[in-house]
């Protein structure tokens, strides 16, 4: 039999070519390895957490888990039956069955009930801090980019802000502790948490907003000014509308960062446990701002480091992680999708 015919332009297999194919595969597999690791972590949390958050019966969502406060879980054997009851249910059970008064129960803190106060706390923290950060950040960016005389001072400020963006979040937590909690004597409170988180993302917001303002061509401003518009009219009608989408996407990324951070709120705003919801038991309006709250990330830290790992505690651990991951992932996805759309829309 004759050798199979080769096409004249087909290159010969050679050592160099094999090398190249091999190297390309190394690059390719490293990329997919990264994706695989990310998918594994995400998938594991989602898979295990969905057992807690979703149910097989009618509403399909575990409503108590999302609407109740954390409780201790009691595990005990009663008349040959293994029972798991939350704190309140366990007390009711004891009253109902007086003979079960001395039953020996193992207790696990935070493992029953739900995580409603944590969700509320996180939402409050994120909303408040983002309002502060956006007001200050966008205004500062507008001032620095549109009004300020570009000179050494502004360049220095810009450089300082850029560098502050890389400072670890736990250091911002210390900042907040020193200034808001201790010096201004706000104690561990919602207000201190808002400001700490806001100033943590402020460098990011300022830098990103300036970037989008800079991307608006100079001609837009000059044209408007030439028609006799004032500075503010120019900014409002001809600069901000084009910069706004960019500012918004970057700020959504900021929201994801604020929601995901634990270290800065550990000593400025978060309580391990608090019975009351933020709007309960207030005597005056200011009480609302000067109260600590429970927060999802801190709750995850507490349940994963302070209580043992077993089948009873797993439920709340994975459930909380799942809910938190979903919230943060949703915010992040929104910003990524928005940005990709924007890239295609504005081009000049």
């Amino acid at each position: 039999m004759s050798a199979p015919t080769r096409h004249v332009f087909r290159s010969r297999p050679s050592a160099a070519r094999r090398w190249e194919t091999g190297a390309l595969w190394v690059f390719r597999s490293s990329t997919y390895l990264v994706l695989l690791c990310g998918a594994l972590v995400f998938g594991h949390i989602v898979f295990k957490g969905s057992h807690t958050v979703f149910t097989k019966q009618a509403p399909f969502i575990n409503v108590p888990f999302l609407t109740e406060a954390p409780e201790s879980l009691y595990v005990f054997e009663y008349k040959g039956e293994k029972k798991e009851l939350g704190d309140r249910a366990f007390r009711a059970f004891k009253i109902e069955h007086p003979e079960a008064k001395d039953v020996k129960a193992e207790s696990y803190v935070y493992s029953a009930g739900g995580i409603f106060p944590c969700i509320v706390g996180t939402v409050l923290l994120v909303v408040g801090s983002m309002i502060i950060a956006l007001t200050l950040g966008v205004s500062a960016a507008v001032y620095l980019n549109e009004y300020a005389v570009q000179g050494r001072v502004v360049t220095a400020i810009r450089l300082a802000i850029l560098n502050l963006a890389g400072v670890p979040s736990v250091v911002f937590g210390l900042f907040g502790l020193g200034l808001f909690v201790i010096y201004l004597d706000w104690n561990v409170s919602l207000l201190a948490g808002w400001f700490t988180l806001a100033f943590m993302v402020l460098p990011v917001v300022i830098t990103a907003s300036e970037e989008s303002l800079k991307a608006v061509p100079k001609g837009f401003r000059e044209g408007s000014l030439a028609l006799g518009a004032t500075k503010w009219q120019t900014i409002r009608k001809n600069v901000l509308p084009y910069a706004l989408p960019g500012i918004l996407t970057s700020s959504i990324l900021g929201i994801a960062r604020v929601a995901g951070e634990t270290a800065p709120i550990m000593f400025t705003a978060a309580y391990v446990v608090r019975d009351k919801l933020p709007w309960q038991g207030l005597t005056s309006v200011s009480d609302f701002f000067f109260q600590g709250v429970m927060a999802l990330p801190y709750h995850i830290y507490v349940v994963s480091s302070k209580i043992p790992q077993n089948e009873y505690t797993e439920r709340v651990q994975y459930g909380t992680a799942f809910v938190f991951l979903m919230i943060v992932a949703l915010i992040a996805t929104t910003s990524i999708v928005l940005r990709n759309n924007l890239r295609n829309r504005y081009k000049w």
Binding site: T31, P168, S169, G178, L202, S304
Partner: protein
């Protein structure tokens, strides 16, 4: 007067009627609003930095007093003898390691029962017991002196507290009550006589201790295996070296003087080069950052070793090799990974990864890997793997940007000269964007060093310098980190105490470290950027 030609108020978009409030037009007000916000932002950011330093710098004064008390109350004196005692403890540990080796040899290699093995080790045990007991007199002396020194220290601290109390009463204008506060002045010279008076006793005890060790050594049984015999010889050698340090200890005890001043810089050096971070101890607190710094660096190093090849590799793949479809799918996915909250990753490490790595390390087929098997599920490796996942998106995004900025002409010229795709990537594209890639790696390092929750949950939190003699296996040891210690201990310390301030100083170190990393990264990009054109 009514004019027939009255012009209706014009409705121009650009309306220049200037309403002035307080002499400011609307435009000025807007400018002031923006400017005010900018000033507030900048001022608060500056203020927060200021407070970090304000809280932190008090530490050095307090630490100086802390070190001064250590000397004046005679704790330093006692620690000379204590060091001698702990040297002996280290030697007995060597001895028990020797016994374990011999025992393993007997039970595993020679298949003896454990009873028989213990039987044949009886003479060795007798020797070990004799060697171990030799330290008893010294140990007794140390524990006596410890009590006395602690008493002096407590007395001094109480006196200091009283002084503060009197000051506060005076400041509040209650002079009568202030006068009533009784302050016992501590006369260190006389108090310390009790300690320094034991020097002759110490010399006697020490001499006897040396003699007892010597006697014990002569009773050492012969080791059957040559390897173990060599170890026993080494042990003899170590003991002789140890005994040879006794005169030096006696010398430091003789020349020790409580009144010798503690130089001011020592509170800095004790912090920067201190090898111990020991808090809330009954004896003496030490604030040395070295174990924490090394912990942070080790964890980051492991993370970078994993993240740099993967991050840069995938950046090259996406930018140079992948098809458009792959790009559109992979880039957002990797950005999505960067949104994983670190506390969730930390939880994943505790719940899954730690267990998995330990299980993996205990597989017999992997026993050749250095450090395998290990039993601590939370260690440098676990934390490093998770931190790598945090660093990869940062490195990937920035490195990809850098690759994107390489002018297309470079690549085209390379192809035109007949270079293959791989040659072009390795010899042209990567070198051209190297400054950007390096700064991407540096920023990844900054991200990793500042990460808190993952290391707090997964690094094992043991405050000790890892044992570098173990070689590569060092990555399977638990450590504590700078970020971790702040997060862990800040909630429990008393405000204004030395411990509290020490944590702020750790924060300052982190602050400067991240600034330096950022600064260098920017510098590299500016300095070595290839001019595009």
């Amino acid at each position: 007067m009514d004019s027939p030609h009255s012009v209706p108020a014009s409705d121009f978009l650009v309306n220049n009627k200037r309403i002035r409030v307080l002499g400011l037009s609307f435009d000025d007000a807007v400018k002031i609003f923006f400017g005010g916000n900018a000033v507030v932002s900048v001022v608060v950011l500056a203020l927060i930095t200021y407070f970090l330093f304000q809280e932190g710098f008090g530490f050095f004064g307090q630490n100086h007093r802390n070190l001064l008390t250590y000397r004046q109350a005679g704790l330093e004196y006692v620690d000379f003898i204590r060091t001698q005692e702990s040297g002996h403890t280290a030697l007995t540990r060597y001895l028990s390691d020797l016994r374990l080796r011999q025992y393993n040899r007997l039970t595993i290699d020679q298949k003896q029962s454990s009873a028989a093995a213990n039987q044949s080790l009886a003479s060795f045990d007798a020797f070990a017991a004799q060697y171990g007991d030799a330290v008893e007199p010294i140990r007794g002396l140390v524990s006596d002196l410890t009590e006395q020194a602690t008493a002096i220290k407590t007395k001094f601290l109480i006196a200091e507290d009283k002084k503060v109390e009197r000051q506060q009463l005076l400041a509040a204008g209650k002079s009568a009550e202030a006068a009533a506060v009784k302050i016992e002045t501590v006369d260190f010279a006389t108090e310390l006589k009790v300690l320094t008076g034991t020097l002759p006793v110490y010399k006697e005890t020490s001499a006897e201790f040396a003699k007892r060790l010597d006697v014990a050594l002569t009773n050492a049984p012969a080791m059957p295996a040559p390897e173990l015999a060599a170890r026993l010889d080494r042990f003899r050698q170590l003991t002789r070296e140890y005994v040879a340090t006794f005169p030096a200890t006696t010398g430091s005890l003789e020349t020790w003087d409580y009144a010798r001043p503690v130089p001011w810089y020592q509170s800095f050096t004790a912090f920067l080069f201190g090898r111990e971070w020991l808090t809330a101890s009954f004896w003496q607190d030490w604030y040395g950052i070295v174990p924490l710094l090394i912990g942070s660096l080790m964890v980051s190093l492991v993370a970078l070793v994993i993240a740099v090849p993967l991050g840069v590799g995938s950046a090259i793949y996406i930018n140079q090799i992948a098809s458009m479809r792959e790009q559109r799918f992979i880039k957002p996915s990797i950005e999505f990974i960067s949104a994983f909250p670190s506390v969730v990753l930390g939880f994943f490490g505790i719940a899954v990864l730690g267990q998995f790595l330990r299980w993996l390390s205990q597989q017999p087929s992997l026993a050749w890997v250095p450090g395998f098997p290990f039993s601590e599920r939370l260690n440098i490796l676990t934390a490093g793997c998770l931190l790598a996942l945090i660093a990869i998106p940062t490195i990937f995004t920035l490195a990809e940007d850098a690759l994107q900025n390489v002018p297309k002409a470079f690549k085209e010229a390379s192809f035109a000269l007949g270079a293959s795709r791989l040659q072009t990537i390795i010899k042209i594209v990567v070198p051209a964007s190297l400054s950007g890639i390096i700064s991407a790696v540096l920023l990844g390092l900054g991200r990793v060093i500042g990460e808190t929750m993952v290391v707090l949950l997964c690094a094992g939190n043991r405050i000790a310098i890892p044992d570098f003699t173990a070689g590569l296996a060092v990555v399977t040891q638990p450590v504590h980190t700078m970020t971790g210690i702040i997060a862990q201990e800040m909630g429990e310390v008393v405000r204004g105490s030395i411990h509290y301030r020490a944590l702020f100083v750790v924060g300052i170190v982190l602050f400067f470290l991240s600034l330096a990393i950022n600064f260098i990264a920017q510098k590299i990009v500016r300095r070595y950027r290839i001019s595009i054109g």
